[in-house]
């Protein structure tokens, strides 16, 4: 896979024009239609159990934070509250964005808007960005969500492990969009018909944050900001440490999620925070399957997929050296082994258009 002179990750560069992956046939591990239909079914009961527990934990730890505010206990309690708020919301923003957890649409939409605010993401811009990410996963010049463009910046990676720079950028984006400004890259995947509600959502988010800021000034206390707004900054780190495993170090420009995504086993608590996104090959291959059915989908197709990593640590043990090596050798990537008898990866050669 040669890295050509025109290799350019921007969504408005030559590779953006060259890709034809939007209409490409992506590989899907074979599974009986009847079984996939069962797994695609949504359940308000299962979703409400998960989302109700999560929201209950956010509220309970939030109340505890209020109770211990001003004591030394505030710091550890804030750490726990922040993880439920920031990391828990980020994975639930993602799930409800797909519209898969709840059978009842308004419940999906209500949680989507709540989780979007809690993770400081514009609900409309991110819905369309993520749509493109699923159409053209890790396709250079087309996927707006490639976290590790080659050669990667290790400095950015280390800083972003705590997710603080990315969230800060998101806050800046919120202000820019609230003033009605979209970049050319954003315009490349966001239809014009969506622009008014995109602007309105950023304005609504800013208004809520301003009210929280006003409450902090009025009360002469940081507490309101530690409850709403700041937890996205100090609590999203766990989600980001987990989500970094999704595609880092793996192949680019290949229409096969077994080659560009990573599935690994994870303890139940982290899976709760992360909404089972450790089953990332399965999620990309069958995005209509709700998070609570991903373990079952994994069992259904694992014989056709590379072996799942044993743990989060196992992912990092492979990923860190690969990303380090990509600094000097951008052609390097991790080649995932397929089991005997697995379906072959479709071949695809990315067309290249010379820079203008």
């Amino acid at each position: 896979m040669p890295i050509d002179a025109c290799r350019d990750y921007s969504l408005t560069g030559p590779n953006a024009k060259a890709s034809g992956f939007g209409s490409a046939e992506w590989y899907a591990s074979p599974a009986p239609r009847k079984r996939i239909k069962e797994l695609m079914k949504r359940s308000d009961r299962l979703a409400l159990t998960n989302y109700g527990t999560w929201l209950g934990l956010v509220v309970a730890t939030g109340v505890l934070l209020v109770a211990v505010w001003g004591t030394a206990w505030a710091w550890p309690v804030a750490l726990v509250y922040g993880v439920f708020y920031g990391s828990g919301a980020d994975s639930r923003w993602h799930e409800t964005g797909h519209g898969t957890p709840f059978k009842t649409r308004w419940l999906n939409d209500a949680f989507y808007h709540l989780a979007s605010f809690m993770s400081l993401r514009n609900p409309h811009l991110w819905r369309w960005s993520h749509t493109r990410h699923h159409s053209e996963t890790v396709i250079v010049g087309r996927d707006p969500e490639i976290a590790f463009p080659r050669p990667p910046s290790i400095g950015n990676w280390v800083l972003n492990l705590l997710y603080i720079p990315a969230i800060t950028k998101e806050l800046g984006k919120m202000v820019r969009i609230a003033f009605g400004n979209l970049t050319e890259a954003e315009k490349s995947f966001l239809p014009e018909s969506e622009w008014p509600k995109t602007f309105a959502a950023s304005r609504a988010h800013l208004l809520v944050l301003a009210l929280v800021g006003l409450a902090a000034v009025t009360l002469q206390s940081w507490l309101p900001l530690f409850l709403i707004g700041l937890p996205t900054f100090y609590g999203s780190w766990l989600h980001h440490i987990l989500a970094t495993t999704q595609h880092a170090g793996l192949a680019e420009d290949v229409p096969d999620h077994r080659m560009n995504s990573r599935t690994f086993y994870l303890n139940p608590f982290f899976r709760f925070i992360y909404s089972n996104m450790n089953y990332h090959i399965e999620h990309h291959m069958y995005p209509m399957v709700p998070f609570y059915n991903l373990p079952a989908l994994h069992e259904e197709i694992k014989a056709d997929c590379p072996p799942a990593y044993a743990s989060l640590l196992a992912c990092y043990r492979e990923m860190v050296p690969a990303v380090m090596r990509q600094q000097a050798d951008p052609n390097h990537y991790i080649r995932r082994p397929l089991p005997a008898g697995a379906g072959a990866t479709p071949t695809y050669e990315r067309p290249v258009i010379a820079a203008e």
Binding site: R33, G99, R105, R127, S135, S193, Y286
Partner: protein, 103 residues
């Protein structure tokens, strides 16, 4: 002049499900609703040309398997982003245990 084409057997489609039907260079989706009515739309999602036959029917809606765009398959109306364009729909009749569509 109406051009009725046999798409499938009426029992080839389960209730609250759909099947794909290809005719010439065109592709269609034939639905059976929860109350055993039959409907037909074009077979590809208007968002990114993905076959709807791999999607999920819930009541009177079909959800695209790729990005979860949703349509009312009775009218073709796009109900959920990223679909912004309605699906074309086609008349359906049941005769002698077969589903016929007018194309």
């Amino acid at each position: 002049m109406p051009n009725w084409v046999r798409a499938c057997g009426a029992n080839d489609v389960e209730a609250e499900d759909l099947v794909r039907f290809d005719h010439g260079d065109r592709t269609f989706a034939v639905y059976r609703s929860p109350d055993d009515e039959y409907f037909c739309t074009e077979g590809l999602c208007t968002h990114e040309q993905v076959h709807l036959a791999d999607g999920l029917v819930m009541d009177y809606e079909i959800e695209c398997p790729k990005h979860n765009a949703t349509f009312d398959y009775r009218t073709g109306e796009a109900k959920r982003a990223p679909a912004c364009v309605n699906l074309a729909t086609y008349p359906v009749k049941i005769e002698n245990g077969s589903v016929w569509i007018e194309i």
